[in-house]
Symmetry: C2
Subunit: 231 residues, 2 copies
DNA sequence: TCTAGATATTGTATTTTTGACAATAAATAA
DNA sequence: TTATTTATTGTCAAAAATACAATATCTAGA
Protein backbone atom coordinates (compact mmCIF):
# COMPACT_ATOMS: atom_id res chain seq x y z
CA UNK A 1 0.00 0.00 0.00
CA UNK A 2 1.10 3.47 -0.83
CA UNK A 3 4.11 2.13 -2.68
CA UNK A 4 3.64 4.00 -5.86
CA UNK A 5 4.42 2.27 -9.09
CA UNK A 6 4.78 5.21 -11.38
CA UNK A 7 4.38 3.09 -14.47
CA UNK A 8 1.10 1.53 -13.55
CA UNK A 9 -0.64 4.16 -11.60
CA UNK A 10 0.19 7.50 -13.13
CA UNK A 11 -2.23 7.12 -15.93
CA UNK A 12 -5.26 9.00 -14.71
CA UNK A 13 -6.66 12.35 -15.44
CA UNK A 14 -8.71 14.37 -13.04
CA UNK A 15 -11.42 16.88 -13.73
CA UNK A 16 -13.97 19.05 -12.02
CA UNK A 17 -17.51 19.50 -13.20
CA UNK A 18 -19.46 22.51 -12.01
CA UNK A 19 -23.17 22.39 -11.45
CA UNK A 20 -24.32 25.98 -11.39
CA UNK A 21 -27.76 26.51 -9.94
CA UNK A 22 -29.94 29.57 -10.28
CA UNK A 23 -33.54 30.36 -9.41
CA UNK A 24 -35.65 31.92 -12.12
CA UNK A 25 -39.39 32.20 -12.72
CA UNK A 26 -40.08 30.05 -9.70
CA UNK A 27 -37.89 27.22 -10.94
CA UNK A 28 -34.41 25.99 -10.14
CA UNK A 29 -32.31 26.31 -13.28
CA UNK A 30 -28.96 24.80 -14.22
CA UNK A 31 -26.36 26.34 -16.46
CA UNK A 32 -25.71 24.18 -19.50
CA UNK A 33 -23.17 24.51 -22.28
CA UNK A 34 -23.16 23.15 -25.79
CA UNK A 35 -19.81 21.50 -26.38
CA UNK A 36 -17.70 22.95 -29.17
CA UNK A 37 -15.23 20.08 -29.31
CA UNK A 38 -14.95 16.34 -29.30
CA UNK A 39 -15.93 14.10 -27.71
CA UNK A 40 -19.64 14.72 -27.56
CA UNK A 41 -19.36 17.58 -30.03
CA UNK A 42 -22.55 19.65 -30.01
CA UNK A 43 -23.94 17.80 -27.04
CA UNK A 44 -25.22 19.63 -24.03
CA UNK A 45 -23.17 19.25 -20.91
CA UNK A 46 -22.37 20.88 -17.63
CA UNK A 47 -19.20 22.96 -17.62
CA UNK A 48 -16.08 21.26 -16.43
CA UNK A 49 -12.36 21.22 -16.95
CA UNK A 50 -9.27 19.27 -16.15
CA UNK A 51 -7.36 20.03 -13.01
CA UNK A 52 -3.75 21.10 -13.46
CA UNK A 53 -1.21 18.71 -11.96
CA UNK A 54 -0.25 21.11 -9.21
CA UNK A 55 -3.63 22.73 -8.69
CA UNK A 56 -5.75 22.35 -5.59
CA UNK A 57 -9.28 21.13 -6.19
CA UNK A 58 -11.04 24.08 -4.62
CA UNK A 59 -8.76 26.43 -6.54
CA UNK A 60 -9.47 24.62 -9.77
CA UNK A 61 -13.19 24.75 -9.16
CA UNK A 62 -12.98 28.48 -8.51
CA UNK A 63 -10.87 29.03 -11.62
CA UNK A 64 -13.26 27.12 -13.84
CA UNK A 65 -16.23 28.94 -12.44
CA UNK A 66 -14.60 32.33 -12.86
CA UNK A 67 -13.55 31.56 -16.40
CA UNK A 68 -17.12 30.71 -17.13
CA UNK A 69 -19.12 33.30 -15.27
CA UNK A 70 -16.69 36.13 -14.55
CA UNK A 71 -17.97 35.99 -11.00
CA UNK A 72 -15.82 35.47 -7.98
CA UNK A 73 -16.47 35.15 -4.27
CA UNK A 74 -19.03 32.48 -4.86
CA UNK A 75 -19.64 29.67 -2.43
CA UNK A 76 -18.47 26.44 -3.96
CA UNK A 77 -19.61 23.23 -2.41
CA UNK A 78 -17.96 19.91 -3.08
CA UNK A 79 -20.40 17.22 -4.12
CA UNK A 80 -19.85 13.63 -5.18
CA UNK A 81 -16.86 12.16 -7.00
CA UNK A 82 -17.48 9.98 -10.03
CA UNK A 83 -15.01 7.38 -11.15
CA UNK A 84 -16.60 4.84 -13.45
CA UNK A 85 -13.65 3.66 -15.58
CA UNK A 86 -15.75 4.08 -18.70
CA UNK A 87 -17.28 7.43 -17.99
CA UNK A 88 -14.92 9.18 -20.38
CA UNK A 89 -14.38 7.72 -23.85
CA UNK A 90 -10.81 8.98 -24.11
CA UNK A 91 -9.31 7.60 -20.94
CA UNK A 92 -9.63 7.27 -17.25
CA UNK A 93 -10.93 10.58 -15.98
CA UNK A 94 -12.13 10.78 -12.43
CA UNK A 95 -14.21 13.84 -11.76
CA UNK A 96 -15.42 15.64 -8.68
CA UNK A 97 -18.61 17.66 -8.87
CA UNK A 98 -18.81 21.07 -7.25
CA UNK A 99 -21.88 23.21 -7.15
CA UNK A 100 -22.32 26.93 -6.95
CA UNK A 101 -25.40 29.04 -6.38
CA UNK A 102 -25.79 32.29 -8.23
CA UNK A 103 -28.33 35.05 -8.57
CA UNK A 104 -29.32 34.75 -12.18
CA UNK A 105 -30.20 38.42 -12.55
CA UNK A 106 -26.73 39.45 -11.40
CA UNK A 107 -24.82 38.36 -14.45
CA UNK A 108 -25.06 37.93 -18.15
CA UNK A 109 -24.09 34.55 -19.43
CA UNK A 110 -22.35 34.40 -22.75
CA UNK A 111 -20.73 31.74 -24.83
CA UNK A 112 -16.99 31.60 -24.41
CA UNK A 113 -14.06 29.43 -25.37
CA UNK A 114 -15.83 26.91 -23.23
CA UNK A 115 -18.76 26.42 -25.42
CA UNK A 116 -20.69 27.23 -28.50
CA UNK A 117 -23.78 28.09 -26.55
CA UNK A 118 -24.66 28.66 -22.93
CA UNK A 119 -28.12 28.63 -21.45
CA UNK A 120 -30.17 28.19 -18.34
CA UNK A 121 -32.38 25.11 -18.23
CA UNK A 122 -35.01 24.32 -15.60
CA UNK A 123 -33.79 21.35 -13.60
CA UNK A 124 -36.79 19.29 -14.64
CA UNK A 125 -36.28 19.93 -18.33
CA UNK A 126 -32.66 18.90 -18.70
CA UNK A 127 -32.04 16.93 -21.91
CA UNK A 128 -29.70 13.97 -22.38
CA UNK A 129 -26.23 15.18 -21.60
CA UNK A 130 -22.69 14.26 -22.55
CA UNK A 131 -20.71 11.74 -20.50
CA UNK A 132 -22.40 10.81 -17.22
CA UNK A 133 -23.50 14.38 -16.70
CA UNK A 134 -27.13 13.48 -16.09
CA UNK A 135 -25.99 11.28 -13.24
CA UNK A 136 -23.77 14.02 -11.86
CA UNK A 137 -26.51 16.59 -12.17
CA UNK A 138 -29.14 14.49 -10.45
CA UNK A 139 -26.93 13.49 -7.56
CA UNK A 140 -25.82 17.08 -7.08
CA UNK A 141 -29.37 18.37 -7.14
CA UNK A 142 -30.26 15.86 -4.43
CA UNK A 143 -27.40 17.22 -2.37
CA UNK A 144 -28.54 20.79 -2.98
CA UNK A 145 -32.02 19.95 -1.77
CA UNK A 146 -30.66 18.50 1.44
CA UNK A 147 -28.31 21.39 2.07
CA UNK A 148 -31.03 23.94 1.45
CA UNK A 149 -32.90 22.58 4.44
CA UNK A 150 -30.13 22.88 6.99
CA UNK A 151 -27.74 25.55 5.68
CA UNK A 152 -28.57 29.17 4.92
CA UNK A 153 -27.72 28.87 1.24
CA UNK A 154 -31.13 29.70 -0.16
CA UNK A 155 -30.05 33.34 0.07
CA UNK A 156 -27.38 32.72 -2.54
CA UNK A 157 -30.11 31.76 -4.98
CA UNK A 158 -32.57 34.49 -4.10
CA UNK A 159 -32.06 38.12 -5.12
CA UNK A 160 -30.13 40.27 -2.67
CA UNK A 161 -33.46 41.85 -1.75
CA UNK A 162 -36.24 39.31 -1.71
CA UNK A 163 -39.81 38.92 -0.53
CA UNK A 164 -40.85 36.25 1.91
CA UNK A 165 -43.00 34.79 -0.81
CA UNK A 166 -40.05 34.38 -3.13
CA UNK A 167 -38.25 32.55 -0.37
CA UNK A 168 -41.26 30.34 0.25
CA UNK A 169 -41.61 29.57 -3.46
CA UNK A 170 -38.02 28.33 -3.57
CA UNK A 171 -38.70 25.82 -0.82
CA UNK A 172 -42.03 24.84 -2.29
CA UNK A 173 -40.28 24.15 -5.56
CA UNK A 174 -37.49 21.95 -4.24
CA UNK A 175 -39.72 20.09 -1.80
CA UNK A 176 -42.48 19.75 -4.35
CA UNK A 177 -45.03 20.63 -1.70
CA UNK A 178 -47.15 23.68 -1.04
CA UNK A 179 -46.83 25.43 2.27
CA UNK A 180 -49.11 27.67 4.25
CA UNK A 181 -47.99 31.28 4.07
CA UNK A 182 -48.68 32.10 7.69
CA UNK A 183 -46.96 28.99 8.94
CA UNK A 184 -43.94 29.52 6.72
CA UNK A 185 -43.46 32.94 8.27
CA UNK A 186 -43.58 31.46 11.74
CA UNK A 187 -41.03 28.86 10.75
CA UNK A 188 -38.50 31.38 9.51
CA UNK A 189 -38.95 33.75 12.43
CA UNK A 190 -35.68 32.72 14.11
CA UNK A 191 -33.70 33.34 10.91
CA UNK A 192 -32.07 36.77 11.08
CA UNK A 193 -33.49 38.81 8.22
CA UNK A 194 -33.20 42.56 7.74
CA UNK A 195 -36.46 44.31 6.97
CA UNK A 196 -35.28 46.86 4.44
CA UNK A 197 -38.28 49.16 4.64
CA UNK A 198 -38.55 48.93 0.86
CA UNK A 199 -41.26 47.34 -1.18
CA UNK A 200 -41.64 45.43 -4.40
CA UNK A 201 -41.90 47.65 -7.49
CA UNK A 202 -44.07 47.34 -10.58
CA UNK A 203 -46.47 44.76 -9.31
CA UNK A 204 -50.17 45.19 -9.95
CA UNK A 205 -51.28 44.40 -6.43
CA UNK A 206 -50.21 45.13 -2.91
CA UNK A 207 -46.40 45.06 -2.98
CA UNK A 208 -44.55 42.85 -0.51
CA UNK A 209 -41.86 44.07 1.84
CA UNK A 210 -38.27 43.36 0.86
CA UNK A 211 -35.82 41.59 3.12
CA UNK A 212 -32.18 40.61 3.04
CA UNK A 213 -30.29 37.96 4.95
CA UNK A 214 -28.29 39.16 7.95
CA UNK A 215 -25.32 36.83 7.61
CA UNK A 216 -23.31 38.53 10.33
CA UNK A 217 -26.04 38.13 12.85
CA UNK A 218 -26.47 34.56 11.70
CA UNK A 219 -22.83 33.77 12.44
CA UNK A 220 -23.24 35.45 15.79
CA UNK A 221 -26.26 33.48 16.97
CA UNK A 222 -24.86 30.32 15.42
CA UNK A 223 -21.77 30.69 17.54
CA UNK A 224 -23.30 32.01 20.73
CA UNK A 225 -26.63 30.22 20.90
CA UNK A 226 -25.77 27.22 18.76
CA UNK A 227 -28.62 28.16 16.43
CA UNK A 228 -28.77 26.30 13.14
CA UNK A 229 -30.74 27.23 10.06
CA UNK A 230 -33.57 24.76 9.62
CA UNK A 231 -36.54 24.60 7.30
CA UNK B 1 -12.10 22.11 -22.35
CA UNK B 2 -12.10 18.35 -22.29
CA UNK B 3 -9.40 18.27 -24.90
CA UNK B 4 -7.08 15.91 -23.20
CA UNK B 5 -3.39 16.54 -23.46
CA UNK B 6 -2.08 13.17 -22.49
CA UNK B 7 1.39 14.50 -21.79
CA UNK B 8 0.40 17.13 -19.31
CA UNK B 9 -2.54 15.66 -17.58
CA UNK B 10 -1.91 11.96 -17.18
CA UNK B 11 0.37 12.37 -14.25
CA UNK B 12 -1.93 11.81 -11.31
CA UNK B 13 -2.50 8.94 -9.04
CA UNK B 14 -5.75 8.21 -7.31
CA UNK B 15 -6.38 6.51 -4.02
CA UNK B 16 -9.13 5.61 -1.62
CA UNK B 17 -8.90 5.94 2.13
CA UNK B 18 -11.29 3.99 4.28
CA UNK B 19 -12.52 5.30 7.57
CA UNK B 20 -13.90 2.32 9.44
CA UNK B 21 -16.09 3.15 12.37
CA UNK B 22 -17.16 0.86 15.15
CA UNK B 23 -18.95 1.35 18.46
CA UNK B 24 -17.32 -0.15 21.52
CA UNK B 25 -17.61 0.52 25.24
CA UNK B 26 -19.91 3.43 24.59
CA UNK B 27 -17.46 5.14 22.25
CA UNK B 28 -17.12 5.48 18.51
CA UNK B 29 -13.85 3.85 17.49
CA UNK B 30 -11.85 4.07 14.28
CA UNK B 31 -9.68 1.37 12.79
CA UNK B 32 -6.06 2.48 12.54
CA UNK B 33 -3.05 0.79 11.00
CA UNK B 34 0.63 1.23 11.64
CA UNK B 35 2.34 1.65 8.31
CA UNK B 36 4.94 -0.95 7.40
CA UNK B 37 6.43 0.98 4.49
CA UNK B 38 7.60 4.37 3.41
CA UNK B 39 6.60 7.11 3.39
CA UNK B 40 5.50 7.62 6.96
CA UNK B 41 7.00 4.31 8.01
CA UNK B 42 5.75 3.32 11.45
CA UNK B 43 3.25 6.14 11.52
CA UNK B 44 -0.36 5.49 12.32
CA UNK B 45 -2.76 6.00 9.45
CA UNK B 46 -6.16 5.04 8.19
CA UNK B 47 -6.14 2.19 5.68
CA UNK B 48 -6.10 3.16 2.04
CA UNK B 49 -4.84 2.01 -1.29
CA UNK B 50 -4.38 3.10 -4.84
CA UNK B 51 -7.17 2.56 -7.31
CA UNK B 52 -6.35 0.42 -10.31
CA UNK B 53 -6.51 2.23 -13.62
CA UNK B 54 -9.59 0.35 -14.73
CA UNK B 55 -11.26 -0.04 -11.37
CA UNK B 56 -14.46 1.64 -10.30
CA UNK B 57 -14.26 3.67 -7.11
CA UNK B 58 -16.95 1.81 -5.24
CA UNK B 59 -15.39 -1.48 -6.32
CA UNK B 60 -11.98 -0.33 -5.19
CA UNK B 61 -13.35 0.77 -1.83
CA UNK B 62 -15.00 -2.61 -1.38
CA UNK B 63 -11.83 -4.44 -2.39
CA UNK B 64 -9.68 -2.48 0.02
CA UNK B 65 -12.12 -2.99 2.83
CA UNK B 66 -12.41 -6.71 2.18
CA UNK B 67 -8.65 -7.12 1.97
CA UNK B 68 -8.42 -5.44 5.31
CA UNK B 69 -11.33 -6.82 7.27
CA UNK B 70 -12.37 -9.98 5.44
CA UNK B 71 -15.89 -8.67 5.62
CA UNK B 72 -18.14 -8.13 2.68
CA UNK B 73 -21.64 -6.79 2.17
CA UNK B 74 -20.84 -3.68 4.14
CA UNK B 75 -22.40 -0.36 3.42
CA UNK B 76 -19.78 1.94 2.02
CA UNK B 77 -20.51 5.63 1.96
CA UNK B 78 -18.55 8.05 -0.13
CA UNK B 79 -17.28 11.02 1.82
CA UNK B 80 -15.12 13.96 0.81
CA UNK B 81 -12.39 14.05 -1.83
CA UNK B 82 -9.03 15.54 -0.92
CA UNK B 83 -6.75 17.00 -3.52
CA UNK B 84 -4.15 19.27 -1.99
CA UNK B 85 -1.22 19.02 -4.43
CA UNK B 86 1.15 18.52 -1.52
CA UNK B 87 -0.81 16.02 0.47
CA UNK B 88 1.39 13.14 -0.68
CA UNK B 89 5.17 13.52 -0.57
CA UNK B 90 5.76 11.26 -3.58
CA UNK B 91 3.52 12.83 -6.13
CA UNK B 92 0.07 14.10 -6.91
CA UNK B 93 -2.33 11.70 -5.31
CA UNK B 94 -5.95 12.68 -5.10
CA UNK B 95 -7.90 10.60 -2.64
CA UNK B 96 -11.55 9.98 -1.94
CA UNK B 97 -12.61 9.00 1.54
CA UNK B 98 -15.17 6.26 2.06
CA UNK B 99 -16.51 5.21 5.37
CA UNK B 100 -17.91 1.91 6.55
CA UNK B 101 -19.72 0.98 9.72
CA UNK B 102 -19.04 -2.37 11.31
CA UNK B 103 -20.08 -4.29 14.37
CA UNK B 104 -16.84 -4.59 16.22
CA UNK B 105 -17.79 -7.81 17.95
CA UNK B 106 -18.47 -9.50 14.62
CA UNK B 107 -14.90 -9.78 13.47
CA UNK B 108 -11.35 -10.16 14.60
CA UNK B 109 -8.95 -7.61 13.31
CA UNK B 110 -5.43 -8.73 12.56
CA UNK B 111 -2.37 -7.21 11.00
CA UNK B 112 -1.96 -8.04 7.33
CA UNK B 113 0.22 -7.13 4.42
CA UNK B 114 -1.33 -3.76 4.87
CA UNK B 115 0.22 -2.97 8.14
CA UNK B 116 2.44 -3.90 10.97
CA UNK B 117 -0.27 -3.37 13.52
CA UNK B 118 -3.99 -2.80 13.48
CA UNK B 119 -6.07 -1.45 16.31
CA UNK B 120 -9.26 0.31 17.27
CA UNK B 121 -8.90 3.80 18.63
CA UNK B 122 -11.64 5.91 20.20
CA UNK B 123 -12.35 8.79 17.88
CA UNK B 124 -11.38 11.34 20.50
CA UNK B 125 -8.02 9.70 21.18
CA UNK B 126 -6.64 9.54 17.66
CA UNK B 127 -2.93 10.44 17.50
CA UNK B 128 -1.14 12.41 14.80
CA UNK B 129 -1.52 10.48 11.60
CA UNK B 130 0.34 10.11 8.34
CA UNK B 131 -0.40 12.37 5.37
CA UNK B 132 -3.53 14.49 5.86
CA UNK B 133 -5.31 11.61 7.53
CA UNK B 134 -6.34 13.62 10.58
CA UNK B 135 -8.10 16.01 8.24
CA UNK B 136 -9.77 13.17 6.40
CA UNK B 137 -10.78 11.49 9.60
CA UNK B 138 -12.30 14.59 11.15
CA UNK B 139 -14.25 15.57 8.06
CA UNK B 140 -15.54 12.03 7.69
CA UNK B 141 -16.59 11.84 11.31
CA UNK B 142 -18.53 15.07 10.86
CA UNK B 143 -20.29 13.48 7.91
CA UNK B 144 -21.03 10.35 9.92
CA UNK B 145 -22.60 12.42 12.67
CA UNK B 146 -24.88 14.16 10.19
CA UNK B 147 -25.87 10.94 8.45
CA UNK B 148 -26.61 9.22 11.72
CA UNK B 149 -29.35 11.73 12.36
CA UNK B 150 -31.25 11.28 9.12
CA UNK B 151 -30.36 7.82 7.82
CA UNK B 152 -30.92 4.50 9.58
CA UNK B 153 -27.24 3.65 9.74
CA UNK B 154 -26.88 3.50 13.51
CA UNK B 155 -28.00 -0.11 13.22
CA UNK B 156 -24.82 -0.94 11.31
CA UNK B 157 -22.81 0.14 14.32
CA UNK B 158 -24.97 -1.49 16.98
CA UNK B 159 -25.02 -5.24 17.55
CA UNK B 160 -27.56 -7.19 15.53
CA UNK B 161 -29.60 -7.46 18.72
CA UNK B 162 -29.42 -4.32 20.78
CA UNK B 163 -31.14 -2.65 23.69
CA UNK B 164 -32.79 0.72 23.40
CA UNK B 165 -30.27 2.03 25.87
CA UNK B 166 -27.37 1.00 23.67
CA UNK B 167 -29.00 2.84 20.84
CA UNK B 168 -29.51 5.89 23.00
CA UNK B 169 -25.90 5.81 24.18
CA UNK B 170 -24.67 5.92 20.60
CA UNK B 171 -26.61 9.11 19.93
CA UNK B 172 -25.61 10.61 23.23
CA UNK B 173 -22.00 9.95 22.35
CA UNK B 174 -22.00 11.52 18.90
CA UNK B 175 -24.15 14.48 19.92
CA UNK B 176 -22.21 14.96 23.13
CA UNK B 177 -25.45 15.50 24.99
CA UNK B 178 -27.43 13.43 27.43
CA UNK B 179 -30.99 12.55 26.59
CA UNK B 180 -34.00 11.60 28.65
CA UNK B 181 -34.72 7.90 28.42
CA UNK B 182 -38.48 8.24 28.25
CA UNK B 183 -38.32 10.94 25.61
CA UNK B 184 -35.80 9.03 23.51
CA UNK B 185 -38.22 6.13 23.38
CA UNK B 186 -41.00 8.39 22.20
CA UNK B 187 -38.75 9.79 19.53
CA UNK B 188 -37.86 6.43 18.07
CA UNK B 189 -41.40 5.08 18.21
CA UNK B 190 -41.99 5.51 14.45
CA UNK B 191 -38.80 3.58 13.62
CA UNK B 192 -39.70 -0.03 12.80
CA UNK B 193 -37.95 -2.21 15.35
CA UNK B 194 -38.61 -5.88 16.02
CA UNK B 195 -39.09 -6.75 19.66
CA UNK B 196 -37.28 -10.07 19.80
CA UNK B 197 -38.80 -11.29 23.04
CA UNK B 198 -35.27 -11.94 24.28
CA UNK B 199 -33.44 -10.22 27.05
CA UNK B 200 -29.93 -9.14 27.89
CA UNK B 201 -27.80 -11.87 29.46
CA UNK B 202 -25.29 -11.73 32.29
CA UNK B 203 -26.15 -8.33 33.63
CA UNK B 204 -26.42 -7.83 37.35
CA UNK B 205 -29.68 -5.95 37.27
CA UNK B 206 -32.96 -6.07 35.43
CA UNK B 207 -32.11 -7.08 31.87
CA UNK B 208 -33.34 -4.93 28.99
CA UNK B 209 -35.34 -6.24 26.08
CA UNK B 210 -33.48 -6.86 22.83
CA UNK B 211 -34.53 -5.37 19.52
CA UNK B 212 -33.41 -5.52 15.94
CA UNK B 213 -33.98 -3.13 13.08
CA UNK B 214 -36.73 -4.08 10.63
CA UNK B 215 -35.09 -2.86 7.44
CA UNK B 216 -37.74 -4.35 5.18
CA UNK B 217 -40.53 -2.58 6.96
CA UNK B 218 -38.43 0.58 6.90
CA UNK B 219 -38.14 0.43 3.12
CA UNK B 220 -41.85 -0.18 2.93
CA UNK B 221 -42.97 2.79 5.01
CA UNK B 222 -40.26 4.96 3.47
CA UNK B 223 -41.72 4.24 0.05
CA UNK B 224 -45.41 4.23 0.89
CA UNK B 225 -45.68 6.89 3.56
CA UNK B 226 -42.60 8.90 2.73
CA UNK B 227 -41.32 8.27 6.22
CA UNK B 228 -37.72 9.24 6.89
CA UNK B 229 -35.54 8.18 9.78
CA UNK B 230 -34.97 11.17 12.04
CA UNK B 231 -33.36 11.60 15.41
C1' DT C 1 -63.17 59.14 -5.32
C1' DC C 2 -64.86 54.64 -4.78
C1' DT C 3 -64.78 49.80 -5.35
C1' DA C 4 -63.38 45.29 -6.95
C1' DG C 5 -59.55 42.36 -7.26
C1' DA C 6 -55.38 40.62 -5.81
C1' DT C 7 -51.97 39.60 -2.72
C1' DA C 8 -49.56 40.63 1.83
C1' DT C 9 -49.67 40.18 6.57
C1' DT C 10 -51.26 38.99 11.07
C1' DG C 11 -54.11 36.37 14.36
C1' DT C 12 -56.56 32.39 16.60
C1' DA C 13 -57.72 27.93 17.88
C1' DT C 14 -56.50 23.06 17.64
C1' DT C 15 -53.45 19.37 17.35
C1' DT C 16 -48.95 17.39 17.72
C1' DT C 17 -44.49 17.15 19.47
C1' DT C 18 -41.11 18.00 22.94
C1' DG C 19 -39.22 18.13 27.52
C1' DA C 20 -38.95 17.53 32.44
C1' DC C 21 -39.96 14.51 35.81
C1' DA C 22 -42.59 11.03 38.47
C1' DA C 23 -44.15 6.33 39.03
C1' DT C 24 -43.97 1.58 38.39
C1' DA C 25 -41.81 -2.98 36.93
C1' DA C 26 -38.42 -6.61 36.82
C1' DA C 27 -34.35 -8.38 37.54
C1' DT C 28 -29.96 -9.35 40.88
C1' DA C 29 -27.59 -9.90 45.22
C1' DA C 30 -27.46 -10.39 49.89
C1' DT D 1 -37.48 -11.00 51.88
C1' DT D 2 -35.44 -6.74 51.02
C1' DA D 3 -32.35 -3.36 49.23
C1' DT D 4 -30.45 -2.05 44.93
C1' DT D 5 -30.19 -1.19 40.23
C1' DT D 6 -31.81 -0.45 35.89
C1' DA D 7 -35.87 -0.86 32.55
C1' DT D 8 -40.11 0.79 31.17
C1' DT D 9 -44.27 3.44 31.15
C1' DG D 10 -47.11 7.47 32.40
C1' DT D 11 -48.30 12.44 33.31
C1' DC D 12 -48.48 17.21 32.65
C1' DA D 13 -47.01 21.62 30.98
C1' DA D 14 -44.54 24.11 27.44
C1' DA D 15 -43.43 24.65 22.73
C1' DA D 16 -44.03 23.94 17.90
C1' DA D 17 -46.70 22.75 13.91
C1' DT D 18 -51.05 23.02 11.39
C1' DA D 19 -55.38 24.61 9.56
C1' DC D 20 -57.89 28.30 8.69
C1' DA D 21 -59.87 32.98 9.45
C1' DA D 22 -59.41 37.93 9.51
C1' DT D 23 -57.45 42.13 8.28
C1' DA D 24 -54.32 45.31 5.58
C1' DT D 25 -52.51 47.47 1.48
C1' DC D 26 -51.73 48.10 -2.96
C1' DT D 27 -53.42 48.56 -8.29
C1' DA D 28 -56.75 49.20 -11.76
C1' DG D 29 -60.74 50.73 -13.50
C1' DA D 30 -65.49 52.62 -13.14
Amino acid sequence: MYKIDFNNFFSYSFSIDCVIFGFKDGQVNVLMIKRSMKPYLNHWAIPGDLVYPDEDLQVAATRILTELTNLSNLDLHQAQTFGDPNRHPQGRVITTAYFALIRIADFEIEASSFAEEVKWVPIHEVPDLAFDHNLILNSTYELLKKKLSYEPICFDLLPEKFTLNQMQQLFEYVNEAEMDKANFRKKIRPIPLIALGEKQQNVKHRPAKLFSFDSEKYSEIAEEDGYRFKI
